[in-house]
């Protein structure tokens, strides 16, 4: 600590000399109140915990992943093969197989199935909750309830759905007792049903969170705008589309990008729901589930290459979304 305390002090003095400003000592002589500049270095010290954690747990693994992706390195049973440097062969293999695009497609389809209803419902709920003229009762209760599904662990939630929708599960017996179907419907043998289930679960889990975010955005809009619109005779629909939505755009973009990134990393729900198989016929296999498949043989080379590609895809998609929904007002 002793050392740390005096080093930045010297640096400070150097800084002051360079910029032609008065050093604190000189300053004290002139004006006793301007000591505040000295506190700068505490900022850096407060940053140390974050920085150390970030470097150890994020930056080093990140570099390590990229480094690993150039090696052939896996286990077969108790045998270790590699690491042998093979350049870009892992990338070539992944890109030439074409599976990545199929699984990327699966991921996006399931994300959209969940995201579209999610944003619609959240906008609707957000608009209702923030509209003072509706005078909704028990708002607090409903806000808590819609958020609750997010508190359940995704895997527990997936397990629950797996049991509910299994061939002999409660959903099938209810449908059969109501005479809607005569044979149990095999949800997990149907591509559409499995994907819809995954999307539906993501919707249930995340619409509460999105509602809260959008509500925060809506409450940030100046109330006088709404009042002015009302005075001018705008309908509720006009107010929503002409005032709320345009002013909500920054928050919407934020929701879209975070949800997209989260969606690309979709893993736990389909993994648990299909017991890691991505069945039927690998139509619910996401990119991360595929990555997980490579870890069975501790295939760090392929796993690393896949992660780097995933990183690039995520980056490109985020930039595209950001460009198309840009926040500049003259568009």
């Amino acid at each position: 600590m002793q050392q740390a305390k005096c080093l930045p002090a010297q640096a400070d003095r150097h800084f002051f000399r360079e910029t032609g400003m008065l050093t604190p000592e000189e300053n004290t002589m002139n004006n006793k109140k301007s000591k505040v500049v000295q506190y700068n270095r505490w900022g850096y010290i407060f940053l140390i915990p974050f920085l150390v954690t970030y470097v150890i747990f994020q930056l080093v693994p990140l570099a390590d992943t990229i480094w690993n992706s150039f090696f052939e390195n896996y286990r077969s049973g108790l045998k270790q093969i590699g690491p042998n440097f093979i350049g870009l062969a892992n990338y070539a293999k992944i890109l030439s197989q074409g599976d990545l695009w199929k699984y990327a497609g699966n991921t996006m389809i399931m994300w959209l199935i969940g995201f579209v209803p999610q944003i619609v419902v959240s906008l609707l709920l957000g608009a209702w909750f923030t509209d003072p003229s509706l005078r909704l009762k028990a708002q607090r209760f409903f806000k808590t309830v819609i958020y609750l599904p997010n508190l359940i662990m995704a895997s527990a939630f997936a397990m629950l759905f797996f049991t509910l929708f299994s061939d002999g599960g409660p959903v099938n017996s209810i449908l059969m007792n109501l005479h809607i179907i005569s044979q149990p419907y095999r949800f997990f043998a149907s591509v559409a049903a499995s994907r819809i289930l995954v999307g539906f679960m993501l919707f249930i889990m995340w619409f509460g969170n999105t509602t809260i975010l959008l509500m925060a955005g809506m409450m940030g809009i100046d109330q006088s705008l709404f009042e002015a619109a009302e005075v001018d005779g705008a309908t509720a629909r006009q107010i929503f589309f002409k005032i709320t939505l345009p002013l909500l755009r920054p928050i919407l973009v934020y929701v879209l990008i975070t949800s997209l990134i989260g969606g690309l990393q979709m893993f736990d729900v389909p993994q648990v729901l299909t017991n890691g198989t991505g069945d039927p016929a690998r139509s619910t296999m996401t990119m991360i589930m595929w990555l997980n498949k490579h870890l069975y043989s501790k295939n760090f080379g392929m796993g690393g290459a896949l992660s780097v590609l995933l990183f690039i895809i995520t980056g490109i998609l985020s930039i595209v979304v950001f460009k198309f929904t840009g926040t500049d007002t003259d568009k």
């Binding site: 010290i45 140390i48 915990p49 049973g77 108790l78 299994s166 890691g276 039927p280």
Partner: protein, 475 residues
């Protein structure tokens, strides 16, 4: 000045907190090496204590270890030991005592290969592990036994002092599975898992007009007869079984191993399983439920309307829910016949981990649990297991002592003993488990219609196999 003091205090709290975070993780690490700990002053005291403790224990364990660690994937062996090993006292669900030795059960379920991943992690470094952490015994299944037997993580049992003479009553196939490439035996089992067809007597009466084992065997004596019976079962409102039930019957009767010269080859008999199963599943005569799933397990109850399961003797006790009064098994409603082809399924081998510090206890457990005739007979009678002992089995087959209540008083031991003599282990490979699992998964997609053709499903299987075993090639 006050503000500055506050900043110093706050900043040092944050940084110290970070350092303390590292420190406490050091002191918590069980096998903390002393050298490392000295570098982190914050943790010195705790580490010294830990080191002293470890040192004392090591001197105490100079003779033989005081802790016996057993790796397993379910509670089957644990309950055998609890019930039959003399002197074993149960402490709680995962610990027990034999004399003054503590027995720790490390249960890692087999799902998603977790059990083997765990073994792959701990076994190679076992010799240098802490005395109390050393794995002493571990269990393995036939599907992957070769993988561990051919690596030097298992101890030849002759090094424990077990002789061929001790094992003269055991079936040859149970020894073949666990022989390494030098011919050294590296594990023992108490089970002889020849398997057959376990049928629902109620269903047999409804569709075939009889539940007499001889007549039922006639109706399922080969695959053509089996298919004809499946048709009758459907008319009577029963499903024959799951396509996954019959898989082992086919896959045990292959003419070549899964992997030949690093290449995965689908045997003709396995292809026959696909063709037969597709036809039966399309006709609605077989279902495609996963083994061990809830839907599959419904057949153990009268309402499940399932004609049969395929399984060995451990299946009677372990998998038919005999302890539930509503199940078919509790009412003695099952029968046992050999079925279309004889096969074997599973069995649990006990292996000594290289580096064990309890060799004499390990030897005693292996001998008592797999060769002692009294214990063997007890296991057969109490747990309806088919034990790996020719004399005991002949004994059981010869009189009423082998009659099983859940089979309606039928005595299956003659059939089981005959089957065990016939088991041929020449076509097993290191990769059997992965291949069997992935093949069944891929073909399920074909049976359910999600893969249009067999070739599509086969391509999916090939893909999954090269993900699991990057060193293998496929067509």
């Amino acid at each position: 000045m006050k503000k500055k003091l506050l900043s110093v205090v706050l900043a040092s709290t944050v940084v110290a907190g970070l350092a303390a975070g590292c420190g406490s993780s050091n002191s918590a690490a069980p096998a903390a090496s002393t050298a490392k700990d000295e570098a982190a002053p914050a943790a010195t005291q705790a580490a010294t204590e830990a080191a002293t403790e470890a040192a004392t224990e090591e001197t105490a364990a100079a003779d033989e270890g005081k802790v016996l660690n057993i790796e397993c994937w379910n509670t089957e062996f644990q309950s055998r030991i609890t019930d039959h090993y003399p002197g074993y006292e149960k402490v709680d669900d995962t610990t027990g005592k034999i004399g003054d030795v503590t027995v720790n059960w490390h249960i890692t379920p087999s799902d998603n290969n977790a059990y083997q991943n765990n073994l792959d992690q701990v076994l190679p470094d076992n010799a240098s592990a802490d005395a109390d952490k050393k794995v002493d015994l571990f269990l393995m299944e036939a599907d992957y036994a070769k993988k561990y037997v051919n690596a030097d993580v298992t101890m030849p049992i002759k090094d424990l002092g077990i002789t061929d003479d001790d094992l003269k009553d055991q079936y040859q196939y149970t020894k073949d599975i666990v022989k390494d490439s030098n011919g050294d035996l590296k594990g023992l089992t108490w089970q002889a898992c020849s398997a057959g067809l376990i049928y629902n007597r109620e269903a047999a009466k409804a569709a075939l007009g009889t539940d007499d084992p001889e007549k039922v065997q006639e109706a399922v004596k080969d695959w053509d007869a089996f298919k004809a019976t499946a048709e009758k079962m459907k008319k009577a409102g029963y499903t024959m079984c799951s396509v996954n039930d019959t898989y082992r019957v086919y896959s045990n009767n292959v003419s070549a191993p899964w992997v030949q010269d690093g290449k995965v080859v689908v045997d003709d008999n396995i292809k026959a399983w696909v063709d037969d199963s597709k036809a039966l599943a399309d006709a609605g005569e077989e279902n495609t439920f996963d083994l061990w799933g809830d839907d599959w397990a419904k057949g153990k109850y009268p309402d499940g309307k399932v004609f049969c399961y395929f399984g060995p003797a451990w299946f009677f006790n372990f998998s038919l829910s005999a302890d539930d009064a509503k199940s078919i098994a509790a009412n003695g409603g099952w029968g046992y016949v050999v079925g279309p082809q004889s096969f074997y399924w599973g069995g649990t081998w006990i292996a000594a981990a290289n580096g064990t510090d309890n060799p004499s206890l390990v030897k005693d457990i292996m001998l008592k649990m797999t060769t002692d005739p009294t214990i063997m007979k007890e296991i057969a009678q109490k747990d309806s297991d088919c034990v790996n002992n020719k004399t005991v089995l002949t004994d059981l087959a010869s009189d009423d002592s082998g009659n099983l209540a859940l089979l309606g008083g039928e005595n299956p031991y003659k059939m089981l003993a005959d089957g065990a003599e016939k088991v041929d282990m020449s076509n097993i490979s290191d990769y059997d488990q992965g291949c069997n699992e992935e093949f069944q998964k891929a073909m399920k997609g074909y049976f359910d219609g999600n893969y249009k053709t067999y070739d599509d499903a086969l391509a999916a299987f090939n893909k999954a196999i090269t993900e699991k075993y990057p060193d293998l090639t496929t067509d």
